[in-house]
Symmetry: C2
Subunit: 340 residues, 2 copies
Amino acid sequence: MKATINDVAKQAGVSIKTVSRVINNEPSVRKATQEKVLLAVTALNYKPNLSARNLAGTKSFSIGYVYCNPNAYYVIDTQEGILTACKEQGFELFIHPCDAKKEHITDEVITMVKQARVAGLVLTPPFSEMPDFVNAMLALDVKVVRIMSGDEAPDQLTPCIMVNDRDAAYTITQHLIDVGHQRIAFLAGDAEHMSTIERYKGYRKALKDNNIEFNQELVIEGEYSFDSGVDAVKILMAPEKDIHPSAIFSCNDEIAAGALFAARLMNISIPEQLAISGFENSPFSRQAWPKLTTANQPNRKIAENAANLLISQVRNQKANNALTKLYTPELIVRDSTTSI
Amino acid sequence: MKATINDVAKQAGVSIKTVSRVINNEPSVRKATQEKVLLAVTALNYKPNLSARNLAGTKSFSIGYVYCNPNAYYVIDTQEGILTACKEQGFELFIHPCDAKKEHITDEVITMVKQARVAGLVLTPPFSEMPDFVNAMLALDVKVVRIMSGDEAPDQLTPCIMVNDRDAAYTITQHLIDVGHQRIAFLAGDAEHMSTIERYKGYRKALKDNNIEFNQELVIEGEYSFDSGVDAVKILMAPEKDIHPSAIFSCNDEIAAGALFAARLMNISIPEQLAISGFENSPFSRQAWPKLTTANQPNRKIAENAANLLISQVRNQKANNALTKLYTPELIVRDSTTSI
DNA sequence: TTAACGATTGACAGCGCTGTCATTATTTAA
DNA sequence: TTAAATAATGACAGCGCTGTCAATCGTTAA
């Protein structure tokens, strides 16, 4: 049968409370005692019972991941990263897929948080970018860690894991320029997403730093979808248009895939007549043909990092809300921007 | 504060044990008493505490979903379906992504099952198609429900949710024939997946029923990937080949997308010169251009059904392992097989 | 050397629920 | 009508752990 705290206590020759102290890293345990206990823990392969802990203690050992994201690959990666951290730290994960645009979404999540007694929440866009939502969670005394786009935290509400989309976009744009392009179009994702805004900033900055004149006509508004890419290329490359871009910066791989597809349809050769870059390094980017130059975000690592941060907050109670960790996606050059 | 069983008991004027009986649907509770209790439950918005239940009882209120699937959309859909059932029934879900090909995968899952004390497991391919694995789980006295491909359960080990890929494939093939095709190629997915085998059977049967001679040359082995579709079309439509298919049955949308892409590259017009069908109704099929004719599997519904089945098994203890539910994916005709 | 102090440790109650078994209410048979 | 049988209910222990507080230990300062 599974070993309990009693078995460990007996084996180590101490009281159960001391075992409890050791496994919870509480102070006031002599070094020698700690070692005895740890030895017994290993010998019996003891793992504390989560239910008992949750029931007995005031603190909880569960965290939640609340998300609303059409990108299944992103969600899966993030889940796995969080799960890795949870396993390591003996925490439990409650996943809560939902619709961020639903009317009483905040109440719904509040109910779930109370019900599951989660001690903390990992938030990704769009939730991480909804201050009211975040505040509502904090008001419940739930710790929060946000993963979001930008190079510094927008506020001190919670620790943040920032994804530096701006610099990554700068790097991609610079790459496009380096391989000889001057007329670079920008295919935007959803305008309300921070990531679109940040990527746009990086694009603009790269143009500026290279003394390339910005041309509003080359910026096509859109959303994070395949169709958006298709439509944009149809507009940009329309025969009747006198000036065409020689390269396209797409806000994500899906848009890029659409752009690629439309270009093919129009008999535009990639990358000779038109270079196309993506963003995200999704399976999409490897399945496209030619393969897409893109930027890789290590979503699993980012999520694991976020979850570890969250768990240490939950553990220590004392939160360091100024804590920020920055990730910059890295350029992956593939065939869609360089001659094969 | 959250209401406990004590509050409900007080409010209803009964003992906590009676409340327990009511919420667990145990027999031997007078109708009137039950109603009193239920009223109090509603009034106080009482939800039993999972930790306490797990701790006190011999039965557990958690189930697990063990999976290894590169198709993120499938996984997400399945998760959501299971979650719906769990919420309704007051169960907790442990997700366990892992690598089915890892050496000690069975041991790994056994550890997780013991650790989390899950009472049951929802299994999808490939796990649902691994008899040794399933038996190992059953040996732990863990209930299992399998989602798998076929028209009847391969054994009586567990209840099964069968996805009738064969009939669906038959319907797709019949559709291809109906719109005038005779030379229909078959692009296989991974040969070891039951779904590939079943889809192949349906394809063969449709040909036979329509007195169309089967041609081995039109069957291309492959895997469930974009590249596989690309390669297949390059082979099938090679100019030097004297006979080309006029339609392609692809084992899933990803293969179909690859086929579509390759065909475009070769300046083959779709669907005029070549009709292409997919399978799965993934986002892929809607993003392709022209949109793919495909077969829709209601993965969320299937998973919800599986989870409900599992939970009722867990609840009743008595398992009806002969129980089988059959879903047949339905044909969705889009532009890739019918002139626009 | 000893009182006094802080550092360690343990005893014990109780988290919210279920399982067991005793008790009481109700029905049935005689 | 009453005893026996059955149905309905409740009292209580205890699941594995943590929080509280009291007991013990070692150490320092006088």
